[in-house]
Amino acid sequence: MKAVFGVLSVLSIILVQDARPTLPEEAQRLGPKPVYLTRSLDRVLESLDSVIATTDVAFLGRVVQINAHLSADQKSIFTDYSIQPLRVIWPRPKEAPSATRPGIQPQAAAYIVVERWGGTMTLGGVQVTQEDSDLRAFRQGEELILFLKFDKGKNKYSPVSPSSGIFYLERGRIRSFLRDSDNLPVFDSVRGMTLDEFDVEVNRRSR
């Protein structure tokens, strides 16, 4: 009986696989007009405390360069954003690097690379855009507050929480990058803060 279950489990793992076509295949099927792929996620937000707890570095930075590429399985577009740090929020610049907080001094670098799911690229002559319906792509020159974790394997940063760990300043006040998030309770504690107030709040919570 156990053997039967074992065989069934293996079969199940083999059979349950990602059956989506690759993006080059989709470009070929849907082109030559530009192809637009949107994604609506059944997302789970993270509290700010939870975001901070897994953050290697948080800073205000400016997007200076954008490069999109395909994932290894060619079913997703990822985009590398080169971000020029303007002001470090966490950890404080005077604090020393540690093994668990590897991205400690982005202000020392001209820019750091942040990878996000989604983007636009040309595949077989067809422009393909893949985008989260609630989280648009970053724009060149845009200033953002990012909570990032470092991926040693890729040697890149990525957002700790795509939905909860990206903010921007609107008329000097903090707003979440997530679309239609103005009334979400998870952002109540920081919504409308100035950058200075936000800096203090993040560092207070990180203690």
Binding site: A19, T38, D42, V44, E46, D49, P162, D180
Partner: protein, 399 residues
């Protein structure tokens, strides 16, 4: 006014009335009928200009007075709203009488009195039956236009209403005008009903990501097939059937959309939604996703098939209750809804929070557990589909 009628044909009228009675026609009191049946009784038809209600407008204003709702829009339950009414009526009617002279008499029709069409009382009905208020000009017989949102001392200031429960309400307005000696027809007018959807929290829509094309993305109004591959059928069929049943029975009748489940691939057309499994690394911070391709930028309709992706680390561990919520949540995306800021119990389209102070301790718990949220569509989820399927009315007040 009728006393001004010339008496010359009186004898002839009396004779004809007697003949009418003998023939069994008792309609003499109905002036219109007389005009059409026996013009000889009233040879001077009244002259009416083409008068009609020219404009009607209704608005729902929140207590703070700064929100105007379009018909089919959404308001928050338990809040008092005021209906305003803008109406203009035009037209007049001149009563004509005979003027005779000489012998034998020579008669002509001459104007006797002119009446303007004017606004009477407007009755408001909820769902066609329950009258809940009136709007009446206080200076009757002379008012040809009114706007209750601009009080002038000569008219009502609107009608207030509070909806304690969620649901769809059809408000009808029935405006009459004051009687005159002319036979204005029709004597009342009912503008198109005003639909109000009362919900617990603010619905959001799944908008086309291109900001220059603000249309709601949705599957076309036809039979949609949800394809569940054979290797996921055993686990997903039950929760998916419950989700589809809730939508088909409660929210999709009348929309043109009906969802069926199949274990045979439904192809690449826009009426196909394919369930499948993807690595969780492809769904950062999420349990599942709905991916669509090339939605029409004018209509918002999908032009290709859609994929319903379940995270490989979550769905096999999820309860049937959680899977039903996940599937119905994604199907609601396909029907045009986006994420909202409602509580987890008020809406399927709400967004849970994980973490020490969140709704769930971890992302895994949020994607697999049964408790803490609803797994069927509420009015906030269903009314936007049922009331305005397609590129939905998105007017909201009071949130």
């Amino acid at each position: 006014m009728r006393q001004q009628l010339s008496r010359w044909p009186f004898a002839l009228v009396v004779a004809c009335v007697a003949m009418q009675h003998l023939l069994g026609d008792t309609r003499l009191g109905n002036r219109d009928t007389v005009n059409t049946v026996a013009l000889a009784f009233d040879p001077c038809p009244d002259i009416g200009s083409a008068g009609e209600i020219q404009s009607l407008d209704r608005a729902v204003i929140t207590p703070d007075g700064n929100c105007s709702l379009a018909s089919g829009g959404y308001i928050k339950k338990g809040t008092s709203y005021k209906y305003h009414y803008l109406a203009t009526v035009t037209g007049s009617c001149t009563v004509m009488v005979q003027s005779c002279s000489g012998w034998p008499p020579s008669c002509t029709c001459v104007p006797s009195q002119t009446w303007v069409r004017n606004l009477g009382t407007t009755w408001l009905y909820d769902n066609g039956t329950t009258s809940f208020g009136t709007i009446a000009p206080t200076n009757a017989f002379t008012i040809q236009s009114l706007d209750t949102s601009v009080p002038t001392g000569t008219m009502s200031t609107g009608v207030s209403q509070t909806f304690p429960n969620t649901g769809r309400h059809t408000i009808t307005f029935n405006t009459g005008w004051n009687p005159t000696s002319c036979a204005f027809t029709p004597d009342t007018i009912s503008p198109p009903p005003f639909v109000v959807n009362v919900v617990a929290c603010e619905p959001k829509w799944n908008m086309h990501p291109n900001p220059t094309t603000p249309v709601v993305m949705h599957v076309p109004p036809t039979t949609i097939t949800l394809y569940i591959p054979p290797n996921m059928w055993g686990t997903l069929n039950g929760p998916a059937s419950a989700a589809v049943s809730d939508l088909n029975n409660n929210w999709l009748p009348g929309t043109g959309v009906n969802i069926r489940i199949d274990n045979v691939d439904c192809g690449t057309g826009p009426n196909c939604i394919k369930a499948g499994e993807v690595p969780v690394s492809d769904l950062p911070g999420s349990c599942a996703s709905l991916d669509h391709q090339n939605p029409d930028s004018i209509t918002g309709e999908y032009t290709q098939y859609t994929t319903l992706n379940l995270g490989d680390a979550y769905w096999p561990a999820a309860t049937a209750y959680r899977l039903q919520r996940t599937i119905e949540h994604e199907l609601e995306h396909a029907l045009g809804l986006g994420h909202n800021n409602c509580s987890l119990l008020d809406s399927l389209m709400s967004v849970p929070t994980s973490g020490p102070t969140g709704d769930f301790p971890t992302l895994f718990a949020a994607c697999t557990q049964s408790t803490g949220y609803s797994n069927t569509a509420s009015d906030t989820d269903g009314l936007p589909t049922k009331s305005n399927y397609g590129d939905h009315v998105r007017s909201v007040c009071g949130f």
